[in-house]
């Protein structure tokens, strides 16, 4: 496969090489800035070929992303980024195709394209900026807003139950799902790098802060004071430990998880569940996706990362197979096929 080769260029690159000449226009303090910087840093570290990379987006604050990347870019219409990206990847599998989108864009109006892209395992990377609110339309609740939230369109509190994007994606058999927070650039870079290497659809949910309409919604897991007790950073092959003093962990209790304290009741690290991101079975990843505060910590990192053929590869190998069998297409022969007669 020449993919990695064509996407790698020799000279050392810096974040600047991936910055376009357009002024970035997000609100000051918006979490999107950190995400943009992390993506650009990741690309610089990987030495990505700008000319071979396409950023595709839908509508929303996050969807302005392509304008700020010095790569090819396509700012499409509300909800449809995954569908457009699918077409791009099928047309030219050697392109590196990334989707920048938001919770409204991908889980509401674009929910259908989102789940079907994942189901097919098309080789695109989907970065969802989840701020649990509509920013660009000025503050209505989104499909990930917590129930009861007061917004412009729900002055008496929202009634809708919210999606857990991880469960949604895993339900569609996601081959790669990871969750990060916009306040941890190092973790973002690490996860984006893993996503970049994944064959098939890689979905990264980024818990992003909207300072204007939903400030501090992810506070419990981003705030310095609280975050270590409230987040569980998953690492493949490592026990599920968390807490400021790294003294808490997860064990199985019947069919559910249970939080335990190390040292209590003779529990040691050896008793804890060990994360296995490569499990064929979806069950562990799905159970992790159900963990929410306050009973459980919020898992971050790669939940699932399994190898499956990418859709575009399957398309090409099917075409190749048919060509081997039938020979390359011959228009004259095709037009003259079926029952013909001479007058």
């Amino acid at each position: 496969m020449t993919e990695t080769k064509s996407n790698t260029v020799a000279p050392k690159l810096s974040r600047k090489d991936y910055m376009s000449d357009q002024a970035v226009k997000w609100c000051p303090g918006c979490g999107d800035y950190a995400i943009l910087a992390s993506v650009q840093n990741t690309f610089a570290q990987l030495g990505k070929n700008r000319d071979n990379t396409v950023f595709v987006s839908g509508i929303g604050c996050s969807s302005r992303f392509p304008y700020y990347m010095n790569t090819y870019g396509f700012h499409t219409i509300h909800g449809r980024a995954a569908a457009v990206a699918t077409g791009i990847k099928i047309a030219n599998p050697s392109l590196d195709v990334w989707v920048a989108t938001g919770d409204g864009d991908s889980f509401s109006i674009g929910g259908n394209h989102f789940i079907h892209a994942i189901r097919r395992n098309i080789g695109i990377k989907i970065l969802v900026f989840n701020n649990e609110i509509y920013g660009l339309t000025k503050g209505q609740y989104s499909p990930t807003s917590k129930q009861g939230v007061v917004t412009k369109s729900t002055p008496y509190g929202s009634l809708d139950r919210s999606f857990i994007p991880a469960s949604l994606a895993l339900g569609a058999e996601a081959t790669f799902y990871a969750r990060v927070v916009d306040t941890n650039p190092k973790h973002m870079t690490e996860i984006f790098t893993a996503a970049a290497d994944h064959k098939g659809t890689a979905f990264v949910e980024i818990l992003q802060n909207c300072v204007i309409f939903n400030d501090k919604t992810h506070r419990a897991i981003t705030d310095k004071e609280m975050r270590d007790d409230n987040q569980l950073v998953l690492e493949h092959g490592k026990p599920m430990i968390f807490g400021k003093n790294r003294d808490k962990g997860l064990v199985m209790n019947g069919c559910d998880f249970k939080v335990v304290r190390l040292g209590e009741d003779g529990i040691t690290e050896n008793n804890l569940l060990v994360h296995d991101a490569h499990r064929e079975s979806l069950n562990l990843a799905f159970m992790l996706s159900r963990l929410t505060l306050p009973e459980f910590p919020v898992p971050l990192g790669i939940f699932r990362q399994v190898a499956r053929p990418a859709y575009e590869e399957q398309i090409n190998s099917q075409i190749q197979e048919i060509k081997n069998k039938k020979g390359a297409g011959d228009l004259k022969r095709l037009l003259n096929s079926g029952g013909t007669w001479v007058v």
């Binding site: 987006s57 449809r80 047309a91 048919i322 060509k323 297409g329 029952g339």
Partner: protein
Amino acid sequence: MNTQHNNKTIEKVTIKFAGDSGDGMQLTGSLFSDESAFLGNDLATFPDYPAEIRAPAGSVAGVSGFQVQIGSIEILSPGDMADALVAMNPAALVANLKQTRKGACIIIDFDAWNETEFKKAGLDHDPLEGDIAATYQIVKAPITTLTRTALKNIDLELKNKDRCKNMFALGMVFWMYGRPLIQTEKYIKTKFASKPIIVEANITALTAGYNHAHTIEVFASTYKIPSAPIKKGVYRQISGNQATALGIIAASVKSGRNVFLGSYPITPASDILHELSKYKEFTVKTFQAEDEIAGVCAAIGASFAGDLAFSTTSGPGLSLKTEALSLAVMTELPLVVIDVQRSGPSTGMPTKTEQSDLAMALFGRHGESPLPVIAASTPSDCFCHTFLAAKIAVEHMTPVILLTDAYLANGTEPWLIPDISDLPNINVSTPDDHEGPYLPYRRDEKTLVRPWCIPGTPHKAHRIGGLEKQDQTGHVDYEPENHELMCHLRAAKIARIADSLPEQEIYGKTEQDLLVISWGGAFGPVMTAVKKLQAEGKSISLAHFNCINPLPKNTATVLTGFKKYIVCEQNLGQFRDYLASRFHHIDFLRFNRVAGQPFMVSELREVFVPLLEECQK
């Protein structure tokens, strides 16, 4: 051949095969057509099938019909009224009697003539009662029994034997019209090559039907239809949807770009998807999307990445695609959306034909969102106009809507296979090498077309999208003057396509009494009606349009010098109103039908004759 027989030579005949959805009438009809085409007749077919896959057996809703007109003269329509009807059950008779000429020969399966079947057809009496026997020549053939008898030595379940009764009926019709059984036998042998017993059963039933008609002299007359004086060359039968698929592949070959089809199944367009998905050896990528929107959006993505992109649909699907079409207008990417029109609004009559999506194709988008609209005339003409639509899309960097319809899609006709070297090339624009940063919206001075610069092109990375573009740079721009300029540029780009379109033709002389105007799939019947009247010396001509937007450059000249103008279309006057808004000085009359069926030549004639008489007053 039995010499005592009254054997007449006729110019043309219309035959309808009708039965239950499960009776194989579509196959029977196409085999008759193929055999006739092979004999050198010109012909046109019209499969008319129900929306339900298997409506209750024996019910009128479940009747499936196949009409074919064959002739020793030019045949452009499947015929108004049947001269012969095959009705495999009472429901088929009831459903088709109105469309059957008085005096016509009606072959019925008399084994299906009983109370049970009458009831299934919703009848409380035998439909043959009354003066019907005096009005038509009814041939009561116990087709089921005769088929079973013919197959008595073949080791097949009764159920499977009964499935051969359509072949028995076909055999009878073959004898009546002096057709050999060659092509049909060949078809059966190939089709069931792996099941010799089925081959034997079908051919036995076919021959038995033929011999039965011969031996017992069931028909008052038999007919000869000599071959038609058609152009020399190699022919094949083709339906509109097949021709569309072939047009797509031809455009791929001539442009050097791979085909991407993003589509969602919808009647009557799905066959284009089915057909194209067979031709992967041409690197055709068919993508059955999760919905209509994803189909067109994926096509837009594929176009951005350099594929020759198509999305196929029918009216309700086109509604869903309109937002994406405006994105393609804004980003100026090549794309062809093919709308196989059907009767609307809403789900309407999904298997029936209409021309009522024209206004939506022209105007059904938000913003100032102009795009070319092209329409095909006949089943085989879908090939040429699909090719033209793709050529316009690529050479003018624009989405194009191609309108066909259910009648063209399913209808078939003999097609003189074109020489591929006669097809023009499709020229793909390449990004220019000017100094400084890449300008994705720098235009060709003459055509106003921007280059197709696909991702992967070195040093030309740029961003496009739905937000208003700055002239030249393509950057996001909200300046009032820029938006004004860009709206005018996009409109002018489409208008200038007329410079490269063929001129509008007139069939007949200019400066006549009546100019008949039609477009798209109305061609066959309208042309037939006009030609007939011309042959009678009437002062009538036809202007049939395929390029709807932009209109051919000489349209104003074509619409000059006639006493009266009448626009005939299968909607309530959409093209008529479009022309009226452009040519204010002309009083366009209209003839409209929205019955889900193609025009009948006779009804057109009834409209034209009084108008011609008025002109003479």
